[in-house]
Assembly symmetry: C2
């Protein structure tokens, strides 16, 4: 395989120390067991759309820390706003004035939002949405699309270890974009239906991204209206990458609640629930809190991030770069001779699937080849662009994907990548 | 009532704006509805053991942001370590090397810890402890002391709105320090017992702090050993204020898991679960994650905080100041003529209860009087000291409590504070 050899001495030493004091060497989604063994685990430094691992290997980044970095790492305006607030205080005996600025800005920016509550994790926000919907309706059942990721709390985690039956006793599932499946779940819920939570499009690990069918979105809205249930949009992953506002605004479908995190403060830990006036009282009745939930630094970062996004230029840059990347990748795909592949998803959150790749051998080989050509992306999870991805970054990324596609194509031709797990 | 009049013009204007865009004007435990209407809601600036509200009113602080500030607000060494890491990166595609430094330091510092996993909220840590205990045992039931606060997730929140039956289906409750009550709960759990979670001492809102009975702690340990269940110490609130290590180390009772947050990074958002080797595999099997859980800045702050605490001087300063405050308050209490009161709890987390105060009128009047004399403390929640509380701060605090005790004593004598809610 061509490309640059990656040095791993420092990383290997850190991994050995980590294995001694952290179960499995690292928790969660960034563990390289979910990428490939070739992906670097420890990061030394990040800037804009690039980062350097602890061994000095430099990469163009297509993951944006799994979403948070929407303006690029170490954005000067965001970091400056955060530092200015930090010189006054962060976690204090009450919120700083920036709390009000931020909640006003969220309400101005997101059409369906009349109010906001802030937290720290995306899971804080999705969990709060469920609880608020239940408080508002006095009912328990929440419907979710099967396979959609809504967080790592026991009710939501994709891994069953330690989850009790009670954690999911009031949940039921339907297939995304499948009206009959949704209507059957609504029928099963009967008069217990409290709400429906859904992601803006179908972004499930290891399979093609899939746009929401606008008619399906309207069906969810109509059904919730008819049943007095709460429609919840989980915008944690997509938020501000499809629109400077709610992700379904272009569809004309307004949720009652939406959950936000990731990109809201360009990497500073923050989450939000925003909602409609009718749910204000329910939101007030639920005890939503944490030791750091009035921390002012992340709020100042969020205000700066939102102000930049609202100006428009950064969002246009990110989208234009996504278009450029999409066109380049589609051209590269069309030149493949021995395998087929498909670009899927919105241009700011793309993912590529290969045909005959049920075991993910081809996309993993592609990801490793990209890595050796200086581009970091994930073999199973959708990728992310930021406003720091300019033409130069995209063209460098495309040089890497071109080499990677060629190598995968050649490997398929030579029988080194066969379809093993349909 | 004597003391300084508090100006509230700026705060009132912010509160009006907040009420429009935040349900109830603010979420969570810092809402002044849980203090008194006289307590300031919005903070302009904090430093050391003091803060200034948005109207320019200055206070000596006995809440430490409800615990996080153990070295004082804006500690120079901690903030410097955080800034240095921030110049490299915070939320990135993987952890920074400081992850390993911090987990090693936690394992060195906490006797029962063989490994650590990090999160953002105290609730992240307590929830993870439950899930790990269940994964380890293959059983579901967790026993909790009635009234103990373990977080704001649906399984833990003290407020019932939006909580489902399933959220608590695998929980049962006993009375803190009551062996018979605990043994009855163990009996009810039978072969479903996965674990027991308990706070290091009984710190329940609005009532006297109560030390753990060492024999009760040993009973929990013996019972968990006999039943193959997991003993979980919730050290989120107490951690590093009773000991530079686990809070039960002086008792010689080692939990299998403990949950940490609040003071671990001197106000930077961080939480940790630490555990024994026997639970390493279970911890690895549970999907513990969040978008910001590898954020390096809070980890760098935690390393700096722990290094300072491990040097010993800061912990000694905090404890000595707590002793000084306790002696002063006890002397003031002994001089009361018309009401009785009692200092309770560890010296770094004190709380005062008045006799005949079931409705909390006296402690609320005391808190408001303190406020007018320049001291911020909570009428229902335990207070916190930090290493920034030096003799000058404590003596100024004692001047305020002296005036407040006098005023409450006079008010009781004049019949203005009567016992209304036994």
């Amino acid at each position: 395989m061509s490309g640059r050899p990656l040095t791993t001495d420092v990383s290997d030493a850190l991994a050995r120390r980590a294995a001694a004091v952290i179960p499995g060497g690292l928790w969660g989604h960034q563990h390289t067991r979910f990428l490939t063994p070739d992906h670097p685990q420890f990061v030394a430094e990040s800037e804009g759309a690039r980062f350097t691992d602890v061994d000095g290997n430099e990469f163009i980044d297509l993951m944006c820390a799994w979403g948070p970095m929407i303006l690029g790492y170490r954005n000067a305006a965001v970091d400056s706003a955060a530092r200015t607030q930090a010189e006054l205080g962060d976690t204090q005996n009450g919120p700083a004035p920036v709390l009000v600025d931020l909640c006003e800005l969220l309400v101005e920016t997101i059409d369906h939002a009349d109010w906001a509550v802030l937290g720290k994790n995306g899971t804080d926000a999705t969990t709060a949405c469920l609880t608020i919907a239940r408080a508002a309706t006095g009912r328990e059942t929440i419907l979710l699309a099967r396979g959609s990721y809504h967080g790592a709390a026991p009710w939501a985690t994709p891994f069953p270890a330690g989850v009790t039956a009670g954690d999911r006793a009031a949940l039921d599932y339907f297939e995304y974009n499948d009206a009959a499946s949704f209507e059957a779940a609504v029928e099963r819920a009967g008069d217990r239906l409290a709400g429906v939570m859904v992601t803006p499009f179908r972004h499930v690990e290891g399979i093609a991204n899939e746009d929401v069918d606008p008619e399906f979105a309207r069906l969810l809205r109509r059904t919730c209206d008819a049943k007095g249930a709460v429609l919840i949009l989980d915008d944690v992953r997509c938020g501000f990458r499809l629109n400077v506002g709610g992700s379904w605004e272009a569809l004309g479908v307004a949720p009652d609640l939406s959950a936000w995190s990731k990109a809201i403060a360009n990497g500073y830990p923050l989450a939000a629930v925003v909602g409609a006036d009718g749910l204000r009282e329910a939101a007030e009745s639920v005890f939503l809190t944490g030791s750091f939930w009035t921390g002012a630094v992340a709020m100042a970062a969020a205000v700066a991030t939102l102000e930049i996004l609202r100006e428009g230029g950064a969002f246009e840059q990110m989208t234009a770069s996504g278009e450029r990347l999409r066109k380049g990748i589609e051209a590269q795909i069309s030149a493949l001779e021995n395998t087929k592949a498909r670009y899927t998803g919105p241009v700011t959150m793309p993912y590529v699937v290969f045909d005959d790749d049920g075991g993910h051998e081809r996309i993993e080989a592609f990801a490793v080849a990209c890595l050796r050509h200086g581009l970091y992306l994930h073999p199973r999870h959708n990728w992310f662009l930021s406003a720091a991805h300019d033409d130069g970054v995209v063209d460098a990324a495309l040089a890497a994907t071109a080499a990677a596609f060629s190598e995968v194509d050649a490997a398929v031709a030579s029988g080194r990548l066969v379809h093993t797990n349909p």
